[in-house]
């Protein structure tokens, strides 16, 4: 079926996973392939070549007004031709965002990359001890050097902070450090749970009270320094009332809407987002429009969890039960985002 027969899609964003490999060992990692997902697609499929990626993205752009391509992994720079793939995407006219842990963003790597791209770089704490503990590797100093060089080169970057029980109350000082190094914004993601994170729930999930305190710190930092802060992973208002933090921007799961970020794995399989292990189709065999229009895709985005049926919060429609992929991965079936129950349980204990 051609896109013209299906109608032009509205999506402007695509996530492209270049590799499953990573040089960090974060316990909070949401990638299903890092944590033993319930539906791991076969890894013996051949990985897309650089030429295949170029062609695949061009075909997606015929079905939808694609504008942004986020290049991620695993750690994308572990793929040797990452810089060249990014170059291809920029040359094709896309705005490219590279999501990286920053360890391999060396001066030589930076020289290979085209100008005008944006980076999202993980900064989990303001001290070597805190960052390295969460990253599972001694990389803090390397990242700071790479961030400083990136700022010097004039590139734009935001830092990404994954909020866990270990670092939630260190967010003010982490924001300060990120801002001092030249970050254009501060992305605050509360930990998003996967199956692999189950053994570490008690050390990862902050209580609702701790999360509130953490967001208060973040709001104070924004008021003081004026660098924008945004929560990308949804924070359901039954855990924390997000309206209490007007200086922070809160995002919600786009649920297949215009802002959906369908994700292409390294072999060309298309998933609903980078949190989910559900395979919707194969872009080597099918068009993007066909896959987005298929029943499996529609079922994935359907409805809200039964636990949320009685919710009367004004943001119920936006929240929709939090991250549906997290529920699928953590429980093995669609329920309310596991973070809701666990953060509230932590608070009671």
């Amino acid at each position: 079926m051609k896109a013209s027969a299906l109608g032009r899609l509205p999506h402007s964003y695509l996530t492209l996973e270049l590799t499953r490999s990573c040089n960090n060992a974060c316990r909070h990692c949401y990638n299903y392939f890092r944590s033993g997902g319930r539906m791991e697609p076969s890894s013996d499929r051949p990985v897309l070549s650089r030429a295949e990626i170029r062609s695949l993205v061009a075909r997606v752009a015929r079905d939808t007004p694609l504008e942004y391509v986020a290049v991620t992994g695993g750690e994308p720079f572990l793929r040797p031709d990452c810089a060249e793939i990014v170059g291809d995407l920029v040359e094709a006219g896309f705005k490219v965002i590279v999501i990286t842990n920053g360890v391999l963003l060396t001066p030589s790597q930076l020289r290979r990359l085209p100008g005008g791209i944006n980076f999202e770089i993980t900064l989990l704490g303001h001290t070597p001890e805190l960052h390295n503990q969460l990253a599972g590797a001694a990389v803090f100093d390397t990242i700071l050097w790479n961030l400083a060089r990136l700022a010097r080169s004039g590139s734009q970057f935001v830092t990404t902070f994954v909020s866990t029980k270990l670092n939630a109350l260190e967010v003010f000082r982490t924001y300060e450090l990120a801002a001092a190094l030249g970050a254009g914004a501060f992305m605050y993601n509360r930990v998003n749970l996967s199956r692999g994170a189950k053994p570490y729930v008690s050390e990862l999930v902050p209580s609702a009270a701790m999360l509130r305190e953490s967001l208060t710190q973040l709001q104070n930092a924004v008021r003081q320094y004026q660098i924008p802060a945004v929560c990308s992973v949804p924070i359901p208002p039954c855990v924390v009332e997000v309206a209490d933090f007007p200086e922070i921007q809160f995002g919600w799961c786009p649920r297949g809407g215009r802002d959906a970020y369908y994700t292409v794995d390294p072999t060309g399989l298309l998933r609903p987002c980078n949190h989910s292990s559900d395979v919707l189709g194969d872009l080597r065999q099918q068009s993007f429009a066909e896959i987005v229009a298929c029943r499996k895709t529609k079922v994935f985005w359907q409805g809200i969890p039964a636990e949320c049926a009685q919710c009367r919060h004004p943001l119920k429609a936006q929240c929709g039960g939090g991250c549906p992929a997290a529920a699928d991965e953590f429980y093995g079936r669609r329920r309310m985002d596991p973070f809701c129950r666990l953060a509230r349980t932590e608070e009671k204990s």
Binding site: Y68, N118, L144, G154, A180, G182, Q226, S232, W252, D259
Partner: protein, 139 residues
């Protein structure tokens, strides 16, 4: 650059009709070849991933307020200002990208000096950053 902004008091719907702008339509709009993001009436509808796109934020220097530009068309900007949707005429403006939101050099240096004092960063790194980083103020 001084940017003069006069906030209109006309009802939103009236202005939407007059200028053909729908703040909620979630599309990109264009003004003088530069695009601005349409993010909707409710600030919670902002897609955080667009923070890495250019020009999501414009600072109005005259008021010292930080606002979000959500559309610009025919000399009118639609902004969220203190949580409220406003339509403002564009008298003089320039899109300010994310880079320009960097901290002032002096403030950045103070933070890095504190980090050095607390031994969170090395003297070599502190020397490099203070010598080479040139964070730009929005002006």
């Amino acid at each position: 650059m001084a940017t003069k902004v006069k906030v209109t008091q006309q009802p939103v719907e009236e202005l939407e009709q007059k200028y053909g702008v729908k703040a909620k339509d979630g599309t990109l709009d264009y003004a003088e070849g530069k695009y601005f993001l349409v993010v909707g009436r409710n600030r919670t509808e902002l897609d955080p991933r667009h923070l890495v796109a250019p020009e999501p934020i414009v600072r109005l220097f005259e008021t010292k307020a930080t606002v979000k530009v959500i559309a610009a068309k025919d000399g009118i900007m639609v902004i969220v200002w203190n949580g409220k949707l406003k339509f403002v005429p564009i008298l003089c403006y320039k899109p300010i990208n994310v880079l320009a939101k960097r901290l002032d050099l002096e403030v950045a240096n103070l933070i890095l000096s504190k980090a050095l004092e607390e031994k969170r960063i090395t003297p070599e790194f502190h020397a490099y950053t203070t010598a080479t980083m040139t964070p730009k103020s929005a002006s």
